[in-house]
Symmetry: C2
């Protein structure tokens, strides 16, 4: 929360509107925040003048004094956030309005491995421009952008430190993206972190959860009490390199027996005898569709491969639960598509290995969104920043 | 932060005083918080009238207007927190004042295993009364108490769900302790969580760290950005049951190959050929002193046992770092005493297994306090609650 009192009060009032959009009046905000009625009214005037809040009709609640109990809601024609996900075999872009609703999306399938980084950056810039134009044509005003990458990022320097599957090292990707209204560059984060932020309902309820993103690599976004926990350097959630077996197979990271070698996309392809060469040609999504189709058809080798991957993933996640005690595990990325087969194995391992399991079963659920999750979460993180600190937007 | 604006401002002002006790004036508080000078002055008056803040002399800084730049500090003759640590072979009690300084402490060594719980509870009540009397004789006013136990607690129900080494199950320990000024019962938490809160300097700096507490069991307290993270049920930090080897030795928890079986007190005793029977007779502390003495004398078997325990502990902690990316690991409990031998092994494993290690080495350090850490952290958590929300104390 901002320290400046006016800024803090604006944030407090806007958060109340966001949490009960369409169902809260000025009197309700006064009651919920402890701010007196005239302060609440003046804050709402400022938020309305700034294009963040609007009146959405009258409420039936009786109002003892002052303005009638008109319901307030977030504007869906004000600021909008742009999110981009640069993945190994596709680039996705999306725009959300202040309510978090998707107003534009576009996905380009193209294998980025081995491509010239200038070409990749050009494509990102082009996609971002297209999204920005579409948003503006829709009456929205871009308030910032955020980009998700499969790798380790330096958020302070806004560079991708290492994205092994893209072949990127110390690359500045944000310079080609639209700056925000104050000229600040796009935000940058790991795809699992942004994917975790796509789970808007869990965030709104203040839940603590671990969002596991199965891609070519395996990562996790940690959300504690509704807030993404990024770690001291922004490197939290590197569960793909949790060691399952110190004598296990070599990992490209230089260690042995990492979770990715058992439960990552390539490992599942290998175990299902869909050669990883096909994975390279087809891209991740079609191979996952193929695996799911075989599993649905009852193919024994596929079912066994998914059970093994699920058990290993569940074993690692049970360890995470012993450390973090979050209430929910969200299966995202390829694990979302494979959740009917992987989910039960994860649940079984969690019940067996989580110390608290005899008193409370953590929920294991499939993610709300599939491949669009990182771009959507990135875009939502942009508008969430406006809701958490509206004075920056108001002072534009 | 409290939602009521006055309460939030009081908390903000008091936090400023706490962070720069003895070195901040009213003008400094106004500058740091963005509150105007007269508001800052009136908040300070209220905090002074409530016995939380005092003037501690004048500062040399020039003050353009209003009151002279008198330095403000926390009172050390106001509210005090009582902390109790019920451990397997001792009970410790301590009282701290608002600055976190220890004003009273007392430790009773007695093996609690197999004892009648009424007797144990009577002893706790007696120790607490003695501490309260001593605090009051010292001019302090108890503002609450907190109790640390080696086990899984139900913080909502204020009962110890399971403390296997004490033989406790669903036991209410807080009923025998002094209530706070509003009649609220003592706080209850796992000993590792409270021990983590004894690291006052790390907390003040807003650091993120993992505090590993080696006792008969092994637990951890997770502090993120200066705040203890307890988990959805209060069960975070159960690292003693992270699985090192699924085919490893049986653990009393019913699983196999848990960290405690390799790096816990009993495991180290066994590997050093100090029989665990001696551990039961002598208590934990003397056996640890014996191990440290042998290690200092260069005993090969002891050095090898400590290196093995340190490697296994470091392996588990590197996994925790991959998940949490905290900047510091604090070695507490028996690991503090054994840090000269265990610490380097932990550092080596972290460098080998932590994904971020090539860009940033997490710090591995010995805890600031030994056996007194849980009681001290419990007591400090009580006064910290007053600093974080002073209006509850002021409204007493």
């Amino acid at each position: 929360m901002p320290v400046n009192p006016r800024a803090a009060h604006l944030a407090l009032a806007l958060r109340c509107v966001a949490e009960q959009s369409g169902a809260i009046s000025r009197a309700g905000i006064s009651a919920a925040t402890g701010l007196n009625r005239s302060t609440a009214c003046s804050l709402i005037e400022e938020l309305m003048a700034g294009g963040l809040v609007k009146e959405v009709g009258s409420r039936r609640e009786s109002s003892r004094a002052g303005r009638p109990g008109t319901a307030l809601g977030l504007r869906n024609d004000g600021p909008a956030g742009l999110g981009i996900d640069v993945n190994v075999d596709y680039t996705a872009v999306c725009v959300v309005d202040l309510t978090g609703a998707v107003r534009y999306k576009h996905v380009v399938s193209e294998d980025q491995r081995g491509q010239d980084t200038h070409e990749v950056l050009d494509r990102i810039a082009r996609l971002a421009r297209g999204a920005q134009n579409a948003a503006e044509a829709d009456g929205l005003a871009l308030c910032g952008s955020a980009v998700a990458v499969p790798g380790i990022v330096d958020r302070r320097g806004a560079t991708v430190t290492l994205a092994p599957n893209l072949g990127w090292r110390d690359l500045d990707v944000t310079e080609v993206l639209p700056a925000d209204v104050h000229g600040e560059r796009a935000a940058l984060d790991n795809e699992a972190n942004f994917a975790a932020l796509s789970e808007q309902e869990l965030i709104r309820s203040g839940a603590s959860y671990l969002y596991v993103s199965g891609q070519i690599g395996v990562g996790a976004g940690i959300v504690l009490d509704g807030t993404l926990y990024r770690g001291s350097h922004g490197w939290s959630g590197e569960i793909g390199h949790l060691t399952i077996d110190r004598d296990g197979p070599e990992c490209p990271c230089g260690r042995r027996g990492c979770l990715e070698r058992y439960a990552g996309h390539e490992a599942i392809l290998r175990a299902t005898s869909i050669s990883s060469g096909v994975g390279t040609t087809l891209g991740v999504r079609p191979t996952v569709d193929l695996i799911a189709a075989r599993a649905r058809a009852g193919d024994a080798q596929t079912l066994e491969a998914l059970a093994t991957a699920g058990r290993t993933l569940g074993f690692a996640l049970a360890g995470c639960l012993n450390l973090l005690d979050v209430g929910t595990i969200v299966l995202g990325g390829i694990y979302r598509d494979l959740a009917p087969w992987i989910g039960p194995e994860v649940e079984r391992e969690v019940r067996a290995q989580f110390v608290g399991a005899r008193w409370a079963d953590p929920e294991v659920r499939a993610a709300a969104y599939g491949a669009e999750a990182p771009a959507l979460g990135a875009a939502r993180s942009v508008v969430r920043d406006v809701i958490n600190d509206p004075i920056r937007w108001l002072a534009r």
